[in-house]
Symmetry: C2
Subunit: 310 residues, 2 copies
Amino acid sequence: MGTSDRMGGVYSPVITPFDRNLNPDAARLVAQCRWLLTQNVGLAVFGTNSEANSLSVDEKIDLLDALVDAGLPPARMMPGTGCCAVTESARLTAHAVKLGCAGVLMLPPFYYKGVSDDGLFASFSQVIERVADSKLRVYLYHIPPVSNVPLSLALIERLIKAYPDMVVGIKDSSGDWANTKAMLDAGWDNFAIFPGSENFLLAALRLGGAGCISATANVNPAAIHALYANWQAPDADQQQAALDKIRSLFSGYVMIPALKAAVAHYSGDPTWMKVRPPLDAMTAAQQRALVDNLDVAGFKMPGLMARAAE
Amino acid sequence: MGTSDRMGGVYSPVITPFDRNLNPDAARLVAQCRWLLTQNVGLAVFGTNSEANSLSVDEKIDLLDALVDAGLPPARMMPGTGCCAVTESARLTAHAVKLGCAGVLMLPPFYYKGVSDDGLFASFSQVIERVADSKLRVYLYHIPPVSNVPLSLALIERLIKAYPDMVVGIKDSSGDWANTKAMLDAGWDNFAIFPGSENFLLAALRLGGAGCISATANVNPAAIHALYANWQAPDADQQQAALDKIRSLFSGYVMIPALKAAVAHYSGDPTWMKVRPPLDAMTAAQQRALVDNLDVAGFKMPGLMARAAE
């Protein structure tokens, strides 16, 4: 199997819009995904920053159908499909594969803590066996600060060996460069490693990383992709510093409401402020402070359009 | 509203049997629940120890239907219905209320960590408003060692004030007696407080607690109920010590596989050993060691029957 089968580049865990009743708004999501594609950013819908775990499996299936029905390319989609129950992960994963999604990003089951590598191996294995489709491509999702269920290097290697054509990459959202570097240094053949933040994009690309999957690719997609595309350029370190500067303006806040407040402001569409519980939307004052700092930094979201008023 | 509306007594988070394909086995679950009822223990199905979060919402709905269809009394049921997505919690809760379940045990959404009391209040509120049924009775579920999302005393009080006829109790699985005592001392009127272990049963009953909801009520139900029923007897402290002794024989192991290994042994039905990933079943050697210790302690599970071989 050639490397062309592996996904690479910059992906956004696309924020999920909600209507006034806190139900998902498929039309706004389609528009946002279309805009992200124009910025050369792929669609890691149903990530942590998509509030994926505040959506039911049925809601995720309906939204994915809406994206594909709207003509967006499944080849650019890596939906998150890892749930707590293997039966739910299998159902959502099978649906994504049937729609032609190029890959899925799979959390481990995250309710039970302190579980063994054997148990986690069996979880991923059950999902893969129940999906039973040779077109499945799994990108593992390591995010111990949120899931509280880490994926060890030994487990990853065991999954690669058991399913070399199906377990083909990982997103490392540990926030720990030493861990990402250990993965990059592990010598796993033809395995796509995405840091979970553009803070590590240049460092990862220099060691053979595949790109990044980052919350702030929702708001700063073009610049992040520009570094991905030009990482060997003489100004790569300056580009990285500029990305870090913008990200730092968000990372002082709870990330999801901050991303939504930025999109609400720059699109002129206040509906984007809404989050589902247990998250809290930004207050108007918090949004103002965020935007003031972004304006000072010269931040823009070119091409982002408001939907017509409802 | 009178106290008669509140549930009390000993409840078991009933372990969930799986067949050889790791699918839920409704017939075995019905038989197990029927046995627990003969031991005067109520049915907190879909608790943590039921592997509830390794079951899909569809699987839980099907199992609950099977229990009610089999003639088991919904008045003795307190199913766990808290999921990560308010839409899933609402769907499962509404179904339980429709079936006549006397209460539901509700986890907070447990993926996103470090969320605010406002966000958690909004989560429970959304579920209650979406269910929109005056027969709903919510027992909150505080289990920070597993959920990693604690429920503060201030949040509990706010929920009671907002929904005095619907938020009527709590299970405290913190394992922290000081926390349970603070709840018992809070002066919440007509509010049922269940420690999450029989270790605290007598102490809680002496302060007005409602009973307990405990993993080991799956295996030692009659003795736990006996203390509940006779907590003012002269030998209550000895009864408590005997319960603690049996529980200690389980608590050195991962609880769920140990409970299942005991039921498998004493019923003569090895199918009970099966757990869903990410948990691991006990090995035969572990089961032997557990049972040896239980035998030495004179432990029995009277009346537990094997199902006929398949």
